[in-house]
Symmetry: C2
Amino acid sequence: MTKQRTGTIPVDPTSAEPCCAPLSARRISHEAADRLAPAFRALGDPVRLRLMSMIASAPGGEICVCDLTPAFDLSGPTISYHLRTLREAGLVDAERRGTWVYYRPRPAMLRQLARLLAVDGTTGG
Amino acid sequence: MTKQRTGTIPVDPTSAEPCCAPLSARRISHEAADRLAPAFRALGDPVRLRLMSMIASAPGGEICVCDLTPAFDLSGPTISYHLRTLREAGLVDAERRGTWVYYRPRPAMLRQLARLLAVDGTTGG
DNA sequence: CCTCTGATTCGAGAAACGTCAAGACAGCCT
DNA sequence: AGGCTGTCTTGACGTTTCTCGAATCAGAGG
C-alpha cells in the first residue's frame, strides 16, 4: 500500500473557489467556517507563521526545506510536521526535485483569507 | 484579590500598532509572529470564526451575547469561553450594560491581519 | 433582603497539538 | 550494490484545547 506522498492531501482545499464575502459584510456560513477555520488555525502558530512568511516571500517564488530548517531551533521532523500542516490547510504546495523539496505559496488561499478579514475602510487605515 | 473582569486582558493586544508588511513582502519577525499568531489561532476554530463574523457584521456595530448563544448547539459556558478567547486575542471588545453584555469588533486588529495576508495583485483578482 | 435571569469562572475529562528520537523512503554518487 | 544526504512518517509523551456541569458574579425587581 503506497502511502500518500508529498502533495497529496486528505481533505482537498485545492478547490479554493473565490468564496466568501468579508466577515463584516455578512455572517459566514457554517460550512465556510468549517472549511476556512483550519487555514487560520494553521497560521495560528508562530513557527508556522514564520514558515509561511519565508515561503511567501521567497525570491524565486519557492524555497528549499534545507533553507527553512536551519532558521529554527527545532528538529527536522518537527519542521516537516509544520510544513505538512500548512500543506493540508491549502496554504502551500510542495514539490520534490532531485534531492531537495521546494515549497511554494498558494496565493488563492491567502487571498481568500485576506478578503474574509477585509474591513470597511481598509484603504483609509 | 479581584479577578480580571470583562475587558481586561492578560497580554495587551490593545496596542495594535500598524505593524507588519504583508507576509509575502518580507519575512515576518520572530516577535511579530509571537504577537500575531494568537489572533490567527483565535480565528482557527469554526465556532469562533462564526462568532467573529456575527459580531463583525452586527447591524449596530455590536451584538448581545444573548443573541449569540442560541445560534449554536453549545452550552453557555462554552460560548463564553470562545468569546473570551476572541477578547484575549484582541479581536473583539466587550461591554456590560445592565443585564446584558455586548460585543464589538476591533477593526484595527482585523486590518492588521488582513494586511499581513495581502497578496501582490490582490486587486487584480 | 431575597430571588430571578444573564454571563462568567472553576474544575474535570476527552481529544488534539507540538515535540522529539528512531526508522523509512527518495535520490545522488562512488 | 552500497553508502550518504535530505526529507518524511511513525510512535510516544507532555501540554494545550474544547466541552460540560456546578458554582459564582452582576444587575433588575419584588
